[in-house]
Amino acid sequence: MGGKTLYDKLWDAHAVRDNGDGTALLYIDRQLVHEVTSPQAFEGLRLADRPLWRVAANLAVVDHNVPTTGRDQGIADPISALQVETLNRNCREYGITQFGLLDRRQGIVHIIGPEQGATQPGMTVVCGDSHTSTHGALGALAFGIGTSEVEHALATQTVVQSRSKRMLIRVDGQTGPGVTAKDIMLAIIGKIGTAGGTGYAVEYGGEAIRALSMAGRMTICNMSIEAGARCGMVAVDDTTIEYLRDRPYSPKGELWDQAEAYWRTLVSDDDAEFDRVVTLDAARIKPQVSWGTSPEMVAAVDGVVPDPAQEPDETRREGMQRALDYMGLEPGTPIREIRPEKIFIGSCTNSRIEDLRAAAQVLRGKRIARGIREAMVVPGSGLVKWQAEQEGLDQIFKDAGFEWRDAGCSMCLGMNPDRLSAGERCASTSNRNFEGRQGAGGRTHLVSPEMAAAAAVAGHFVDVRELEH
């Protein structure tokens, strides 16, 4: 029998019981809770008169609905306000630690978990949000769940799961300058497709992944779901350990030593076998821009919008044509000639301090182009915002013509007032370019923070590597 993969180690450490029907009860170490997918779960608990199994396993924050301006005046939309107030009330009633709207630790749930050290290697992490895969970057087993499972985890500290198949995505070699974690991930999704990871737990490895900061690894794991995989993960190494040191909720003293020793075992064994291995050559990855309405519809910045007529499969061809109609693009158009009108730098994919530094580096001493109607930066958390202000990044953004906002999910999905109008074209550092995702009729092009900043300056997509610093 061969060695174990990281996924198998995490699974085996959390399997409470085998249900004997292909499923197991998997113990949950941390549940992150936000306002959108939890109210019905708490309502269910109340109706059945069930207590929380372990209150301290939960951490709550408001992020999806919150305004990114004028917060001291509260939430103008009464329906959003009620949802936020419902979370406040549920957290008070059940004693759950929550970062409220005016707490400086407030932010996007997948930013604040790692930032606070509340999500750690070796944990099982769930949240009623598909981007929970983000936390796998720490060497955790982290996946999104629905509201029924949120309720199940609150009441039992477990979820019912079937073991996934194992996939290794190995990115060998080194990326060139200007090529980021976002570009690597978009290239991966372009290669395996938006359902390529369905049924799999994905581990990302190889030299290019090892070279990434934790922020970059989180960007990669975050978008696992865009490749169909519920969870993505990266093995623990020195980068992971250093990231966790001295975080507010990281173990301290003796517990830290004990935890670190355990965390260092969280790697796939050399002889572990995967059900599927996908490899990419990092040196061949160029900055990516999505052109369609699925994250698999991506092209290199020096490429062109593809021609559906070249696609042999009928369903795919129709999908491409529908995407081009929606996006208002013609086949053969150079990506460089696509002109966004809005720029959004933010989301759980790309709103960490490293992302803001990278975008600011491109923008330093420059102005957004005349054709850009609105450009905004939405930091991932209040603490990211504070850090950026300490470094003077806010001034660079403002001088360039960007709006400097408060933390939240914002225009990634437009549940708050930040959204696209019909027909508006946006260069966005978020994760989904679905029809209507950023606003009904809105057109999303997914890019890295550097590429979003470069497009803001040029007024059209441009290879960030060619932009003069």
Binding site: A56, T86, D129, S148, V160, R432, A440
Partner: protein, 217 residues
Amino acid sequence: MEPLTQVDGLVAPLDRSNVDTDAIIPKQFLKSIHRTGFGPNLFDEWRYLDEGQPGQDCSQRPVNPDFVLNQPRYEGASILLARENFGCGSSREHAPWALAGYGFRVLIAPSFADIFYNNCSKNGLLALTLPASTVQALFEATWAQEGFRLAVDLPEQAVTTPTGERHHFDIDPHRKHMLVEGLDEIGLTLEHADEIRAYEAQRRAVTPWLFSDLDPA
């Protein structure tokens, strides 16, 4: 949860691959704090010509006549025929709530996205997969014949056409059991509370830091 055993229903064909949960139920309707009431906003951006708002009376809105569910022949459909990777994207359980609220009991596609697939079975909605070629044949039959119905038998794991053609489908025993019996999964899990507690005691000894309180930060 209402048990689901046999469904004999009208079939509606949704001929698009990679239908995401943002399309199934757009974000503005996720602000609700209830489990019900999403049916009128199922596929809202495709179904109506205006931009929908929560709490609106949908009977007064301009409908998109080109959208398949707005065609009179599919009115009252309880079986949705779909393409691969149906339900991809966001984990929102509002998607199955909206599909069930509209009146669908069964979804048939070559493949479903993982989280969506799980969410369906928690809500008495059977998502079943058939080979792409079979699904294609069912699409053609649905288009060709107005009033095309299918009989779905979950205990027997079979989909039967009006002409008696029978297609077997696979489903894991756990999901099948939960759906057929309409069981409360939390109640079932809590029958194993002692095992969960024993696991916790053992883990607490090995990895004590995982059981630290979050407060004070």
